[in-house]
Structures are given as C-alpha cells and as structure tokens.
C-alpha cells in the first residue's frame, strides 16, 4: 500500500519535472536562437537546413547594428527615462499616498477620486493631447518628453496609500508627540517603513517604462533621442531581410535589463507580484 503511494508520488514528481524542463526549453530557446543567429553571417543564417552553432563566430553583425543605431545614445535615453520616471513615481506617490492614508484635509475624497479615474482609464486615451502639449511647447525629441506621461503615477499613489494604511497610526502619533514636524514624521519615520513597497513600485515602473513602445515612437522621432525599444523598431525597417543584424541589435537592447534581472531576480518577481493586477 505504502509503496504504491510512494510510487505514484514519484511518478508525479517526474511528470512535474518533465513539464518544467519542456516549458523551460520553450521559454529559453528564442533567446538562445537570438544569441546564436547574431554571430552568423547572413548567408549562413539562410542555410537550409540551418546550422545550430555558427560556423565562424563573427562580431560583424554587432558592428553593423551599432553603425545603424546610435546605441550609446539609446542606452542613455532609456536609462535617463527610467531613472526619472522611477524617482518621480516613488517620491510623488509616497508623498501623496501618505497624505491620502494618514492626514485629514478637506476635499480628500474628491482629490482621491482623480487618482481612481486615472487608474481606470487606459493610457492611450491621454496620448494625443499629451503629444500636442509637448509639440506646442517645442519639447518633442527630448528626454523630458520621454518622462512626461510618467511624472506622476496614479497607480503608485494608490499602491503606496495601501502600504501606509497598513502602518498603525500610533507610530506617527508617537513621532509627532516626540516633536517631529509633519514632514519629519513622514520622511524620517513613516517612509522608511514602506521600503518594500517603494522598491516594488520602482521595479514595476522601470520594467514598464523600458518596454513601452507607442509613446517613445510618437514623441521622439529623432534617432538620437529614441529609446532602445523605439530604436529597435526602426532597425526592423532597415534590415528587413538581414536577421543576424536584427538579432544582434535586439540582444544589445535587452542585455542590460536581463543582467539586472539575473542579479535581482527575486526583487523583480516579488515587486511585480506585489503590484500585481495593474
């Protein structure tokens, strides 16, 4: 009896492993193929049947990709966009989230409903007027334009408000009685208690800013002011048949985030899981 139970459990474990191994191959293979193709010559990439490993590992595709896209500028723009968006989202959302959760003031409900309205509307509904504002001010093709829609984060405000609501009022009251001003209470006592939530919001903001395609395509049409995502989209038109160069370009575009992910894998996944559902 016991041994048959044991046997069925072992069979199930084997099944689970088989599932995961096949699944992992499906998930990883495209990246491996991208990597291998990026080192092949165009002629080799068109061989039938295809070679698995490059006959001769060559870096020429990377030179070509870097010659047709200003990768340094793209990295710089993308990094600046991410940093500014993360800083703005975390700082402004912390302040507003704290005020909405812990302070009493008139009109709080009405103001908070603005946050909820923004969260319910898809971002595309704001895009055309946002673009027109920037165009009118002559601010297209700037880093500011890339950051613009992310200067405030309704979702971040909502998310950090939740975090502050989870902290007992007594902590703030004690700090206040000890002579902290409202600002000090927030900045020195309360904000540090939401570190995990702030980190989650930062990860979430960074991942989505990095992947965003429509906004950077619209607002920054000058190649030097593009992000990695929108830059790749132009590469697509230029090298429509030269796949090794496109693979090299894609790899260059994804490497920084993937490296960060390898180091902070747990924070990434937990950050996204915490902010989940948005």
């Amino acid at each position: 009896m016991k041994s048959s139970l044991e046997k069925s459990r072992r069979r199930r474990t084997a099944g689970t492993y088989a599932f995961f191994i096949i699944g992992s191959i499906i998930m990883i293979f495209p990246f491996v193929w991208m990597f291998l193709t990026s080192f092949k010559s165009v002629e080799e990439s068109m061989l039938v049947p295809p070679t698995i490993l490059p006959q001769e590992w060559q870096g020429k595709n990377y030179d070509d990709a870097m010659a047709s896209l200003p990768f340094l500028a793209l990295y710089k723009n993308t990094i600046l966009m991410i940093i500014w968006r993360v800083v703005c989202a975390v700082v402004f959302s912390s302040m507003a989230g704290y005020a909405f959760a812990k302070l009493n003031f008139k009109g709080k409900g009405v103001l908070f409903s603005l946050v909820l309205i923004q969260m319910m509307l898809p971002s595309q509904i704001f895009i055309t007027p946002q673009y027109q504002m920037l165009a009118k001010l002559g601010l297209t093709n700037t880093v500011f334009a890339l950051v613009f829609p992310g200067i405030v984060s309704a979702f971040g405000t909502f998310f950090l408000r939740q975090a502050y609501m989870g902290i007992p009022n007594e902590i703030a009251e004690a700090a206040y009685l000890d002579g902290c001003t409202q600002w000090q209470t927030f900045y020195k006592i309360m904000a540090p208690l939401t570190k995990a939530s702030m980190a989650a919001l930062a990860v979430f903001t960074a991942v989505f800013a990095y992947g965003d395609l429509m906004w950077p395509l619209i607002v920054n049409t000058d190649l030097k002011m593009m992000t990695l995502s929108s830059g790749l989209a132009t590469l697509r038109g230029q090298f429509s048949t030269n796949f090794p160069v496109m693979m090299a370009g894609s790899l260059l575009a994804m490497i920084p985030m993937v490296v960060l992910y390898l180091f902070f894998q747990k924070q990434f996944i937990e950050g996204v899981a915490m902010t989940g559902g948005k």
Binding site: P49, L103, Q124, I125, F126, V152, T181, L232
Partner: protein, 297 residues
C-alpha cells in the same frame, strides 16, 4: 483648553501638509490626465486643420468610423486576438502556477525562467519570433518541415501573434496566480486527503474555488491589455505587410490614424470607442463574477 488649542493647531498643520503633499500628484494628474481626457473627447468631435487648429464637426468622425470597413475589421481582429490569447493563456498560466506550487527542487529557477520575457522589451521579443517564424529560413518551419507563411498569410498572422503574446505573458500571470495559491491554507488539503480525495478532486474542489479571486483579477487584467494590444502586432506586422488588414488591432488603427495619417479626430474616436468597449467588458466581468468567484473564507 490648552489641549484643544494644540489639537486644532495640529489639525491645521495636518491639513496644510496634506495639501502640500498631494499637490504634485494632483497637479500632474490634472495636466497629464484629466485635461487630456477631456481634450480627447473634444478631439473626437473635431477635424484637424493645418497649424494645429481644430474645427468642431459634431458626429462626423464617429459616422466615418462606424461606416468604415477597416474599423470593424479592427474590432474583429481585436476580438479574435482576445479569444486566442486569454482563455488559453490563463489556462497555461494556472497550470504553471500549480506546478510551481509543489515542493520540487529548482522551483525558483523555473519561476525565473518563465518570468524572463517580462523583463525583455516586447520590441526585442517580437524580433526574435519574427525570425523564428520566417517562411524560408525560420527554425519553426524547419522543425515542422512546413512552408507556412506565419507572418504574411492573413489567415495565419493572428495565430502567430497569439503564440508570441501567450509566451510573453505566461510567467507574469503565473506569478500572480502563484501568490493566490500560496495563500490557500494547507489544512484544507490535509483534511481532503484524509477523506480520500484524489489530487484531481482537490484541484477542482479546493484549489480552483480558493484561487478564483486571483483568477478573476488576472482575467480582468489580461482582457484589458489584450483589447489594448499594440506593440507586439506593430513589431511583427509592418505597414507594408499584406496581412495587416487581418492583424490590425484597434490600438494599431488608432496609432496609424492619429500619428501616421495625421487624422487625430478620427483616431480619438477610435480610442473613445476602445475605452467604452473596455468599460463594457469589465462591467460584464464584474457582473458575471458572482457566478464563479468565491470570496468566502
């Protein structure tokens, strides 16, 4: 007396700080979201004129939109995309989540692998899939020893997009579902196994009802983002691709109308329509959830 004075001063400084601290967010929301929202509605009733001017034209854009075959085609394409990706995608994500919830070695590594596409820009993801789906030299046709025009055949293109979309989202959805699964108390399963319930029975009578609130959130989110699909299709299907008519989603149409053809009035009508569509679909979901989502315990 002294206490109440102190309290009222406290109250006043509290209110003052309240306004100061919400100010950046509220001003930002007004400028970046509330004003644009109203402006988009206005735009949808106007025609673009040179030099950034507008002319109110009543329902003209909407009439043009509702009588345009391309618009209805885009609706069908979007619907088809949702049907292809949402049920299968969520089913697979749940399967992965359930598997990740077992005690096996290496589960953190597997979780990280499934989640990987999330941290890669959709633009890069689309590039490699486009290469793998290439008709002559793509590895997928080679492995299947087929000659399918994955990217250029109008009848196949949505399936191609759906495969890439599911592959991209599965890890994200699985991570959300996994956190729902981990909240289920072990004692239910222990009691059930003592009563002789099989694993299958446990899944349908414990796991599924208990995870249904999370499943509902994932479903709502996935449906919304599928209705809004744009980047993946944009990267896979160029404007010169003959399959575009059968692949163009509502947001792709919006992008082309507003920013390629410069017809922002019509583009805005398309957005308003899409937002209304999302609203209706979400409302139906919330109404339908009573039948299957279990909020007890």
């Amino acid at each position: 007396m002294g206490k109440s004075l102190k309290k009222s001063r406290h109250g006043r400084s509290e209110a003052k700080w309240g306004y100061i601290m919400v100010a950046p967010t509220i001003i930002g929301l007004l400028v970046l979201n509330i004003y644009p929202f109203i402006d988009t509605i206005k735009l949808s009733f106007s025609k673009t004129r040179p030099f950034g001017l507008y002319e109110m034209r009543g329902l003209e854009n909407y009439l043009q939109m509702f009588t345009s075959g391309e618009f209805w085609r885009a609706n069908l394409n979007t619907l088809y995309f949702c049907l292809l990706t949402v049920p299968l995608g969520i089913f697979l994500a749940l399967l992965v989540a359930v598997m990740l919830n077992t005690k096996i070695k290496g589960r953190t590594a597997f979780r990280a692998i499934f989640f990987l596409p999330m941290v890669v820009a959709p633009a890069a993801v689309a590039m490699v899939w486009k290469w793998m789906f290439n008709t002559e030299y793509g590895i997928i046709n080679t492995m299947l020893s087929s000659k399918i025009n994955w990217i250029t055949n109008p009848n196949v293109i949505m399936i191609t997009c759906a495969i890439v979309a599911i592959w991209s989202a599965i890890g994200y959805d699985a991570v959300l579902l996994l956190s729902g699964l981990q909240n289920i108390s072990k004692s239910y399963y222990e009691a059930a196994s003592l009563d002789g319930a099989t694993k299958m029975q446990q899944f349908f009578h414990i796991t599924l009802p208990m995870v249904s609130p999370t499943l509902f959130v994932v479903l709502i989110m996935r449906l919304m983002s599928s209705i809004k699909v744009y980047d993946l299709i944009y990267m896979l299907v160029e404007e010169s691709n003959p399959a575009l008519t059968k692949a163009q989603s509502l947001m792709y149409l919006f992008y082309r109308e507003s920013f390629v053809s410069g017809n922002r009035g019509l583009g805005s009508s398309v957005v308003i329509w899409t937002v209304a569509l999302i609203g209706v679909v979400t409302a139906v979901q919330f109404w339908g959830q009573k039948k299957w989502v279990n909020y007890e315990v």
